[in-house]
């Protein structure tokens, strides 16, 4: 534990700080155009190309996770602006997969 301070309602208290507190991730506003992975996996098949128009619910890719085939769906109508992964790529949880611009 590292000595430091914790600020609560305008008052800074001198105290030791836990490692977990130091490791906490800063929250960032999610970009609704970016499709993130919700589980780690491997891309099996890409079904769209960059620049291709898609409708909400269209399957963008199929990936394998926990021995199951899963589909990545388009979040809304628009155009595939960017594809961050290729077939056979392994990705962790929370990775950028697609950008779909409305």
């Amino acid at each position: 534990m590292i000595p430091g301070s914790v600020c609560i309602l305008d008052t800074a208290y001198s105290t030791n700080v836990t490692q977990r507190y130091l490791n906490r991730k800063k929250w960032v506003k999610p970009n609704p155009n970016i499709v993130l992975s919700f589980i780690p996996g491997t891309i099996l098949q890409l079904l769209v190309k960059e620049g291709q128009p898609v409708k909400a619910g269209d399957t963008l890719a199929v990936f394998v996770a926990m021995k199951m085939h899963n589909a990545v769906l388009a979040p809304h109508d628009g155009k595939v602006a960017k594809i961050f992964v290729g077939e056979g790529d392994r990705f962790p949880k929370g990775a950028n997969l697609f950008e779909v611009v409305a």
Binding site: S5, V6, Y13, S14, T15, N16, R24
Partner: protein
Amino acid sequence: MENQKVEELQKKLEEAQQGGGEQAIAKQKSMGKLTARERILLLVDEGSFHEYDLFVEHDVRDFGMQDKKLAGDGVIIGTGTLYGSPIAIYAQDFTVAGGSLGSMHARKITKIMDYALRMRMPIIGINDSGGARIQEGVNSLAGYGEIFFRNTLNSGVIPQISVILGPCAGGAVYSPALTDFVFVVENISKMFITGPEVIKTVLGEEISMEELGGARVHSELTGNAHFFARSESECFEQIKRLITFIPWHNQRKALAFEPREPKPEYKVDRIVPEDATQPYDVRNVIRAVVDGSDFFEVQELWAANIIIGFGRLNGDTVGFVANQPFVMAGVLDCDSADKAARFIRYCDAFNIPLVTFEDLPGYLPGVDQEHAGVIRHGAKMLYAYSEATVPKITVILRKAYGGGYIAMNSRHLRADFVFAWPNAEIAVMGPEGAANIIFKKEITEAENPEEMRKQKVAEYREKFANPYVAASKGYIDSVIDPKDTRKFLLHAIQVSVNKNAQMPSRKHGIPPF
């Protein structure tokens, strides 16, 4: 003729007590581990251990198992005494087929668990097992299920203690998780649902067993373990010490000890700094009031912003819950609320009175906390305090702000006695925050806003940040001289000895877990 039969028995016993044989025992030793039998003998009173089911054999006829004789089917069960009182114990024997759990192995464990419940004695389970015995298929899973079910039946009736002295992986981890206290030893204990191998294949993440589920991980990060030791012998000392503080079953009180005065080096009125932003170790306040300054801390390394543990007042065991300003300013957060709530329920189930020392600035602010469910976790604490019917005493040492004031065993959750030290600050929030809101207009419109702010903070502190407003409503019973804290606690415990409080009749409540 008779002698011959006795000799035959002796031979059978000796053979069975060899466990997995010399080679397997040497391997166990090379890992720095004791054998299952050595562990039991170190734990119970000398000469008191009596073993059962030594001749139990598995009945598997597949995968070549029919030719394999497994001594005691990989687990030792029995009863003994600890400080002269009865205790049930089982120890998985890693030298026999890796301590793997088959149906007879499980049946031995559930047998001793049933004994323990029927005889109302504590049960200690020593876990050292590679997991399910794969050759036994679903029978092995059935065995785990039978154990978990009994862990739940026994919960809150007899103390259940788990000691992890080797691997404890997959489904097996849930038996310790259901018990009251889990003991782990550095470099020996390993607990996880899926091991490093599987994680690597499925997720591509590389991690060692120790980093994934070692003793330190479970003591500091996950909160699965309650006691951390560097060696098996230190671990056994911890178990024996814990046993002195807890009752043998839920219809009894913990054994009373000879009353002792706290050590003079702990001066109760010299520990807490007056400046509310300055930290101190609240454990010293506990040591300053308990018998012999002897405080036995539980979950020392996890969520250290709240302190829980046992001490004695006038010879009787008391459970302490205290905010720790030394770590994270003593805030309540998801983990600390969870930690305290479970301990409060333990004490309530086993007739151990609760003493709460309060000094907290509130709940930890942050998106991560809110999104981690601090509402749900914080509610556990309110639930646990409200539900507890054992004597409940609170001492407000310094700060008692906002939701934290309510949560820390306030009068409103039916605390029996609430005391406050004279420099206690009891308010909706700290003076700084409060002044900034109430006097926002005055401050921003002032010629010298900073000067005005200081003035208004002081005004608020003067008016509200003291114990007398709460005392005038009877929310606090007495404002006390810190030096009299022990005197007031002893008396409060003494007069609540016949406390009779009941919750409405129901099957069970629905706590937020």
